[in-house]
Symmetry: C2
Subunit: 192 residues, 2 copies
C-alpha cells in the first residue's frame, strides 16, 4: 500500500468553490486535483493499492482532510474537473472527527496534518533530500506541499521525517508523485 | 532543446468546444492539456528549452497542429482549463499550412504527423521499448499517443523510429512526459 498526502495551504474547506475556477475560488484546488490524478491513475485503470489524502487548510473551517481510496473509488475521471467535483461534494456534507463517506472511496473528516501523521510514517518529498533512486528501501507514505512551502509549524511537525528528492530540479507536487510511483513500480517489477 | 508531440485522435479542430467539458466536447482535450502542463512546467517557472506539439485529428477539419514554445509562452497557468482556453483561442483563428501565432508562444497550422515527422527525429514512447534509463543517449524529440493507440497508418509512419519505455506499467501520456523530463534533467545535472 502506498499513500500520498498533499497539503493545500489555502484550499477551500467548504463546497462553495466553482468548478470553473478551481485555482481562484478553490484556493489552488487545481493543484490538489492533479495530485489525485497522479496518485491514482494508470493508463486504463486505477491504482487500487494507493490512497491519496488532501489536507485542506483554507477558509472557512480548516483543517479538513479528504481521502481517496484507490481500491474503492468508482466515479473518478482523469480530468481536474472530475476530481474537483468529487472534492466539492465531499466538502458539502456535515463532518466530524472520523472519516465519513461522501461517495464510493471518497471520504472527509475534520483534522489536518498532526492527526494524519499519527496514522502514517511519512517521508517528505524535498528537493534537498537524498536521491530517491539511491535509497536502499523506500517508505510507504509520502508527504508533499502544494505550490507554497511548508509553514514553520508544519516543518516542526515534520522535523524527524526522512526526506527524499526525486530529481535535480524543483517540480510541481503531481509531477513528484508520478516520479515516486515510477520508482516504486520499477522496484516492485525488478526493473532496477 | 526537447520536444514532445502528442496525437489527439479525436481532439476537436475548431474552437467550439466547452472549457467546462474538455473531455466530452473537446474530444479528450483534457489529455492534451495535461501533456502541455507536464511538458512545460517547473515548480515556479516554465521549461524554456521545451516545446510541445499537439496533433489534433478530430472533427471538423483535421489534422491541425498546435505548438507551445516554452521559451515564448506568457499567459499559461498550470490548470487544464488555462491550457484549454489557449488551445481554443488558437483553433478559432483562420490558418494555412504555416504556423500562425494565436497568442505569445502558441501557434497553429494545418497538417499533422507526417509533416511534423519531416521536422523532428522522434522517438516513440512505448511500453514495449527498452528502458529509457538504460539508453546510452537519448533523442531530443518524443512522440506519444493520447488515450487511444496509434492507428495503423500512424504505426507505419513510425515504423523506423526508436522506441523507449519509461517503466513497467502502462501510464497516461502526461505521466510519461514527466518521467522523460526527469531522466533528461538527471543526465544534464549528472545525477545518474
Amino acid at each position: 500500500m502506498t499513500s500520498f498526502a498533499v497539503i493545500g495551504h489555502i484550499a477551500r474547506t467548504d463546497g462553495t468553490f466553482s468548478l470553473n475556477d478551481l485555482p481562484g475560488t478553490g484556493g489552488r484546488m487545481d493543484v490538489l486535483c492533479r495530485c489525485v490524478n497522479s496518485s491514482l491513475f494508470l493508463s486504463h485503470d486505477l491504482r487500487s493499492d494507493t490512497d491519496c489524502y488532501l489536507v485542506l487548510c483554507g477558509e472557512p473551517s480548516p483543517p479538513k482532510t479528504v481521502r481517496f481510496l484507490g481500491s474503492d473509488v468508482r466515479s473518478l475521471s482523469p480530468d481536474e474537473r472530475s476530481a474537483g467535483a468529487l472534492i466539492k461534494k465531499a466538502l458539502s456534507i456535515p463532518v466530524g472527527s472520523e472519516f465519513r463517506d461522501a461517495t464510493s472511496g471518497i471520504s472527509v473528516r475534520k483534522g489536518g496534518l498532526a492527526r494524519l501523521m499519527s496514522e502514517h510514517a511519512f517521508a517528505v518529498l524535498d528537493e534537498k533530500g537524498p536521491d530517491v533512486r539511491q535509497a536502499e528501501t523506500l517508505p510507504e507514505a509520502f508527504l508533499l506541499s502544494d505550490h507554497l512551502n511548508f509553514t514553520t509549524e508544519e516543518e516542526s511537525l515534520l522535523a524527524a521525517c526522512p526526506r527524499y528528492s526525486v530529481g535535480p530540479v524543483c517540480l510541481h507536487a503531481n509531477h513528484a508523485i508520478t516520479l515516486v510511483h515510477n520508482e516504486l513500480d520499477r522496484r516492485r517489477c525488478k526493473w532496477n
